[in-house]
Amino acid sequence: MSEPAVADTRRLNSKPQDLMDAYGPPSNFLEIDVYDPQTVGVGRNRYTTYEVRMRTNLPIFKLKDSCVRRRYSDFEWLKNELERDSKIVVPPLPGKALKRQLPFRGDEGIFEESFIEERRVGLEQFINRIAGHPLAQNERCLHMFLQEESIDRNYIPGKVRQKDNTDCWSRPMYIYFYFMSY
């Protein structure tokens, strides 16, 4: 009979975007800098600390701008806590460099400038990947690591409950999204 009709491919209707939403600041700002390595202590009890500065507008973090000092073993502690308590696949830390801690090396070992810089970059990548993970953001250990002056290793592990009573979701929302590993 007649030639086949063309399928209707017009766009579905949708609400026009609010200009404030379109041009306002995005609500996903999260930046963590790991910098200013300082060697603390004397002799064989020396270690290096780094400044960990977080700036964010994510409401799950209590402080929008925080600054703490952390050492490598603190990062290891965080990695272990997350591996035990959360379901995420935790990205790797930069190496432990045990060989560098042996005596009779020709260089400064773990206090060698180039090594510290390499480690600093690795730690910065690590903490940024972790802090941006929605499941990791639920863990108390992460918040304590980023925003409390010192880490209390005797803390009670747990989740952070973001209960905002002014939230107006009246419709039930089914959380179907799944994570795959990194």
Partner: protein
């Protein structure tokens, strides 16, 4: 006394009566090649001739009967010995006796039921074929002719859209919508993704079409997933209030109609997988089943008036006409 030949003493050949006029359809073979076969639909008559050609015209061919069968069967690759026949028709062409010369036999299988579509998959195959056999004491002589069957449907009465709000608490809320739940194989998926809350850094978003072939029952169920298409619909980071359109043309992909629990042996189902990927390569996805069906090419004269109107309504031809009229008015 019969001669115990070690070679074939006769050739057997099956020719369809409408071989000149009948359409052929492309169908994948088990080893991935694509061949053309005669196309049949449910209820059509299968008729033709079986030609038996004697190789040595002087020699008689003793036999225990000549017959032709029409068979529809399901083969599970892990269980090759067992063929599950769901259609099995037979016509005897000659009683036991002997052939002194080459002969042609007519056959007709009237209005044969072909309830399922031909399917060649990863772990299962459903096929229809004619098989002509000359039975003999030691070894039979037989020939098979495969055909392809397509199952056709008309526009479904109910075809609701798929609309859902999903997300991760306080991180990402989206509302996705696909205009239909049932699509024909040359249809277009029209939809949209609306962002209600974006607190992660999204890099891009895509829609995948996944085919899942399920074989086996009970504890031995096996799913074979195959991503047929990956179609990027967004590149870059969206913010709240943004709506991303989807327009995905299905005709470009090799797909079959949805098959549910065919003869209780296997299923082939299709899913749309909406995938969002953030800057750390984390993937967030939501899978949704869609039903695919095969539309007939020609509007047959036997189609009822109502069905004809229904097809026009869904194709949007009436609205297209309205737009045409509008532009004519504007230009005048």
């Amino acid at each position: 006394m019969s001669f115990f030949g070690f070679g074939q003493s006769a050739d057997i050949d099956i020719v369809l009566n409408d071989a000149e006029t009948r359409k052929k359809a492309e169908h994948k073979t088990e080893d991935g090649r694509k061949d053309k076969y005669f196309l049949f639909f449910d209820g059509e008559t299968v008729s033709g001739k079986v030609n038996v050609t004697l190789k040595n015209p002087g020699k008689r061919l003793e036999h225990n009967g000549i017959k032709i069968e029409f068979i529809g069967q399901i083969e599970l690759y892990y269980d090759r010995g067992n063929h599950h026949e769901f259609v099995s028709l037979v016509k005897d062409l000659a009683r036991p006796g002997e052939l002194t010369q080459s002969q042609t036999f007519d056959f007709e299988f009237t209005h044969v039921e072909k309830p399922y579509e031909s399917y060649t998959g990863q772990n299962v195959k459903l096929r229809y074929f004619l098989r002509a056999t000359i039975s003999r004491r030691l070894n039979d002589i037989s020939k098979e002719l495969d055909i392809v069957v397509h199952t056709l449907s008309t526009y479904p009465e109910l075809n609701s859209s798929i609309k859902m709000e999903v997300g991760i608490e306080d991180c990402l809320h989206i509302e996705f919508e696909y205009n239909k739940s049932k699509y024909h194989l040359k249809d277009v998926i029209v939809g949209k993704i609306y962002f209600l809350l974006v607190r992660i850094k999204i890099k891009h978003m895509e829609i995948d079409i996944i085919k899942r072939e399920t074989t086996g029952t009970g504890p031995n169920v096996y799913h074979e997933n195959d991503t047929i298409a990956k179609y990027e619909i967004m590149d870059g980071a969206p913010v709240r209030g943004e709506s991303i359109p989807i327009r995905l043309f299905l005709a470009g992909y090799e797909m079959t109609p949805t098959m549910r629990d065919i003869n209780k042996k296997f299923s082939v189902r299709y899913y749309l997988n909406l995938v969002l990927i953030d800057e750390e390569e984390r993937r967030y996805f939501k899978q949704q089943e869609i039903t695919l069906w095969r539309k007939g090419d020609i509007v047959r004269k036997s189609m009822s008036h109502q069905a004809a109107i229904a097809s026009q309504r869904f194709e949007g031809s009436s609205t297209a006409d309205r737009f045409q009229d509008q532009s004519k008015e504007d230009s005048s």
